[in-house]
């Protein structure tokens, strides 16, 4: 555990010396905080007679079947749910490039060989790098979600606000989000330990985010809505996938290949 902590602190010390990385870690969460607040503002400024408002209320009624809400509460609640998925995918977007660079970056800067010569195991090294990549993003997301919940308290009806504290969505933000993040980070680490050019690693790992972005588009455009069951099933499936991917990530990290093939 001590060596994992050393790797985590080393990664952070290196990564956050780069102000652009710091900027991206901070910028995206703030942007994702602004989008739902801006949408709630638009909703509040709509007149009940607006065609768009009518359509929104109609769609919300369908989606919130059985809930005892007024049309406006229904629309607010629907909008908040639409954007919760943003907070689920937010931590996925941030650490991918950090993880993608972490192995191949050390190789190109020639710091990997002395590191691998220390008595650190591959599991310790990769867990350290993975945790270092996901933690800032996950913590930042949770903080931003807290701020979102706080601001929304003053902007939406109590009934709609309750949506943000629904256990289903809390599972989505606090469990499924980090699980999805770990999945992408392990894939990014696998790519990073198999390629010889940091640019290739970043290009390849950016593809990992595509299915999750499609999920977000589907949710925000109303193409489909994540249900309680779907979120729980997804959390279990992704947890299993994470364990399998972590195992493969460690197995695919071949010290000899990394040191000799990339010369």
């Amino acid at each position: 555990m001590h060596k994992i902590k050393t790797i985590i602190l080393k990664e952070w010390a290196e990564v956050f010396k780069n102000r652009m990385v710091l900027f991206t870690v901070a910028f995206l969460p703030l942007l994702f905080l602004a989008i739902p607040q801006f949408s709630l503002q638009s909703l509040a400024s709509m007149e009940a007679s607006d065609t768009e408002m009518e359509e929104m209320i109609e769609l919300a009624r369908v989606c919130q079947q059985g809930a005892d809400l007024t049309p406006m509460e229904c629309a607010e609640s629907y909008m908040l749910e639409l954007f919760i998925v943003l907070f689920m995918i937010l931590p996925v977007a941030i650490p991918v490039t950090i993880a993608a660079y972490s192995v191949v970056g050390e190789k190109t800067s020639k710091s990997l060989e002395p590191l691998l010569a220390t008595p650190i195991t591959t599991t310790q090294l990769l867990l350290g790098k993975g945790i270092a990549a996901i933690t800032p993003a996950v913590v930042m997301t949770w903080l931003v979600y807290g701020v979102h919940v706080g601001i929304s308290y003053f902007r939406v009806s109590p009934a709609a606000w309750g949506t943000l504290l629904d256990p289903l969505w809390l599972v989505a933000v606090f469990i499924l989000g980090p699980l999805l993040t770990w999945m992408t980070v392990t894939i990014a680490l696998m790519v990073s330990s198999r390629v010889s050019d940091p640019r290739v690693a970043e290009q390849l790992t950016s593809l990992v985010v595509v299915p999750i972005v499609l999920l977000m588009i589907g949710q925000t455009t109303g193409l489909f809505l994540l249900s309680r069951e779907l979120i729980l099933i997804a959390a279990i499936v992704i947890a299993v996938v994470d364990v399998i991917l972590t195992y493969f990530c460690i197995q695919l990290f071949q010290r000899e290949t990394i040191l000799t093939r990339w010369n």
């Binding site: 001590h2 060596k3 050393t6 602190l9 080393k10 010390a13 290196e14 010396k17 780069n18 800067s109 020639k110 710091s111 990997l112 060989e113 002395p114 590191l115 691998l116 010569a117 220390t118 008595p119 650190i120 195991t121 010290r255 000899e256 040191l259 000799t260």
Partner: protein, 309 residues
């Protein structure tokens, strides 16, 4: 302390190290000499458990390569060909990471010790990226010593350094030698090898020769003595024939107006040689011993190795 038997490494069809047999006792400074691409770094990587041998066995600090890799890594220090520092981090932070990874007791004290020994203490809070090449090399050496390894592998420790920085690094290695560590130096700096090493191995895929620098400089066929003559060139073959007939003489070469004679014991044999030459009518001007540099020996052996390959 380091023992290899038939150690071999192949990368697909390319044979990088071929049946290397070494036995390096504790406290020895061993020079591993060879040209670029000879397989020196591959050998060091096998001995530090970074890559696996294709065949053969190796033991380092009493542990078997391939079986006790973690134990070996804990007991060896390595200076890689390039320092591989974290440029954005301070010198202190660079060392602290490695002190933690090697689980060094009282890491900060060890870091202070080596930063002071290598004259980097005043720059401890500067980033490694701001260091000169020599300072980076010294910092990498400090990193390799933090955990007080029993065996130290130095891959081209003075490569690319200016003469002053090279001297500082060499002097530091001499100090380490005094501490009784086993040091394995890969180099193609022959002057360095002859000054630092107890024994040297000339290597090019295979170990070509293994001996002390002095013995290698002595060369094959004994020591070489040069006799300068003030004679016409046509007389020299006659003198050569007279000398070849002597039991003491191993070999005679003619070079301009000089005779180059290989002898086992010049102190004992020179008077007889001089008498023979004078009796043949030679006009002797000067006698001296030819001292071969390690470089001569190295180049000759590498040429032979090239022909063999």
């Amino acid at each position: 302390m380091i023992k290899t038997t038939g150690l071999t490494k192949k990368f697909n069809e390319h044979l990088a190290v071929d049946r290397l047999d070494l036995d390096i006792p504790p406290g020895e400074v061993f020079g591993f000499l060879g040209p670029n691409g000879a397989g020196k770094t591959t050998t060091v990587r096998m001995l530090t458990c970074l890559i696996c041998p294709t065949a053969g066995q190796a033991e380092v600090a009493g542990y078997k390569v391939g079986q006790d890799d973690q134990a070996i890594r804990q007991r060896v220090g390595i200076l890689t060909e390039t320092p591989g520092l974290y440029d954005r981090l301070t010198a202190w932070r660079n060392l602290l990471i490695y002190a933690d990874l090697y689980e060094v007791d009282n890491g900060p004290k060890q870091i202070e010790k080596y930063l002071k020994l290598l004259d980097l203490w005043d720059r401890r809070n500067d980033t490694a990226g701001s260091f000169s090449k020599g300072m980076r090399q010294k910092l990498a050496i400090a990193r390799s010593l933090l955990h007080e390894p029993e065996v130290l592998f130095l891959d081209e420790p003075t490569s690319g350094l200016d003469p002053e920085a090279s001297k500082i690094v060499r002097d530091f290695i001499i100090n380490l030698k005094g501490e009784g560590r086993t040091i394995f130096i890969c180099t193609h700096n022959l002057n360095e090898a002859s000054h630092l090493c107890d024994r040297v191995g000339l290597f090019r895929t295979q170990l070509r020769v293994l001996d002390t620098p002095a013995a290698l400089q002595k060369g094959k066929g004994g020591r070489q003595v040069v006799f300068h003559l003030a004679d016409a060139a046509e007389n020299l073959p006659r003198y050569q024939n007279a000398l070849v007939a002597m039991d003491e003489v191993n070999h005679v070469d003619i070079q301009n107006n000089k005779l180059l004679i290989r002898l086992d014991n010049p102190e004992q044999d020179n008077p007889a040689i001089i008498r023979t030459l004078v009796n043949e009518g030679a006009h002797l001007q000067f006698v001296g011993e030819v001292r071969h540099s390690l470089e001569d020996v190295y180049l000759q052996l590498m040429r032979e190795a090239g022909h063999d390959a």
